[in-house]
């Protein structure tokens, strides 16, 4: 007899493929909360651009929703990019510095 995968079975399999072992370990709570926090933060950051122009804020908010859904889970990327590797931090500092100079010179 061939088993029939209903949609429910497929969804259940897909969701449980994320979880190994108990879904409520000490680590897991931290990662789940961190994921939700970074998601909300991305949305807040996008909506921030309303102070420059409201349509820009709306477009960025929609883009942020799409982006967070596409790139989920965010926390893994965030953890990688927050590595304490010297070269990586140096790289980020140079990028930051360039952005600051560009934004302030453009604004002035």
């Amino acid at each position: 007899m061939v088993s029939i995968d209903t949609l429910f079975d497929k969804v259940k399999k897909w969701i449980s493929s994320f979880v190994e072992g108990n879904g409520y370990t000490n680590m897991m709570t931290g990662y789940m909360t961190g994921e939700l926090q970074s998601l909300v933060f991305a949305l807040i950051l996008a909506s921030f651009f309303r102070i420059f122009s409201i349509p820009l804020g709306m477009v960025l908010l929609i883009a942020a929703i799409a982006g967070t859904l596409y790139f989920a889970p965010l926390i893994v990327t965030l953890e990688k990019e927050n590595s304490n590797d010297l070269n990586r931090v140096l790289y980020w500092v140079v990028i930051y510095f360039a952005i600051i100079i560009a934004v302030t010179l453009w604004g002035g």
Partner: protein
Amino acid sequence: MSAYPSNLWSIPLLVVIPIIVAVVVNFIYNRSRLIKIISIVSAVCLALIASLSSYGYHWFTGQPALRPETLTFTFDPGFPAWRLALEFYFGPLQQVMIFVMSLILIFVVAVASSGLTKRQGPYMSMIFLLFASAAIIIMVNDLYHLWIAVEIGSLVVAGVVVGSGTSVSHKAALKYTFFSALSGAGLAIALALILGLTGYSNISDAIRYLQSVNLGEMSIILYVAFAFFVLSWIYAGGLAPIHPLKSEVYGASFPHGTAMLQTQSKLMLVAIGIVMLQIFGMLPFVREVMLAISIITMMLGVVMALIQTDFRWILAYLIVSHSGLVTVGISLGTTEGLVGGIFQAVNDVIYMTVLLLCCEALYYFGGKTSTRNSLGLAKRAPWLGMAVILGTMAASGIPPFNGFQSELILIQASLKAGLPEVAAVILMVSVTTFIALFRAVYRLFLKPPETSEPVAEVKVPRSLYIGLWVFVALTLIIGVYPNIVVSFITPVAQAVSIPWYL
């Protein structure tokens, strides 16, 4: 203003005493009892000087004065606009910041001298030099001393981190020193650009010149100077792109060393932030840039704290995240924002010291700080368990503790500036702080231990417990009577504030 105002007696003492103590304890490096007495006595002296001193200036050299009507320089010493180039200023803000810092210094040296067995002299001298550099940055009113003190401070931070002697701390110190090189060069360039633009190294003079003169095309130079200044600001406070290294520095040193490091770093953030606000605050996009850096730091710090599995690293990331809270207030630049930001800095160093002293106590109970262990310490040391829970509540802004008062002012300030998003982020940070801390507190203190082997009696030094309860009491007192601190901050905040223009 007279041409030669008299100097204030307390300013040189606040700088020279820690330097002399640093030299002396370095000489008598192996006599631990003598080191302990000298360090504690001098730390108490510093606290007394800071609390008893009147307000005033100390100046080192003069410079040609600017005639406002013709914008020409004159060497005439009788000219009434004679300003002093290299000067320190001791006012109410400086008083409260240096007093809190010296209070923390007392307990840090007491705990360090009872915990350390070897290398005590050099380590203690690093702690005192850290105090000296932070005191200079807090009091300074000229760019030259500011730059030197930032450089000295960053080298001393490396020294304190190396003092804990593990390979992790050597790596953290090396990485941090690379950035000190970068940001020190940046600050020197910023100083040179401001000097070239205004002709002044004195901060008040430079600000007055920039306000009275239309720079026109030359304002581009000011923007470049701002960018370099921001580089050293984010470095000093461990703001966004440098936060992995700064939290590594906090996590790799002894917890009592971290208490001193975070105090220095947060008070430096306030002092440099106020200077930046005054010099560049009127330029468009400057405060937005500062605000963006602060918000990103807050969130990244707190999210990274959530996923750590060691109490030390959780505290390290939370310290970085709360630095963002301090700078949000300063970036807003309004009176409420400045009061909130500076008040938050003072509160932050107090409650983080409580938590760091609790973390130090864990070393006496076997040295396990990973949240993978469940130790059940609340049963073995009920007072320690209570202190850590009170510290957690203060850090997450629960009334009636001090964290609540400053976060309330910050939230009100951001709402008043028309930025409800910032208020939302501040709320998120304070709630997430509670989650991140309580995960560790539950595992280490409240959850019953997995093994039931008999435990030996542990002797925690008395100075640690005294310090713990002094700072817990301070969080409560400031939480109930915030005006004790706010009354010192408000006049300064009113003097330097700029209305938010959105």
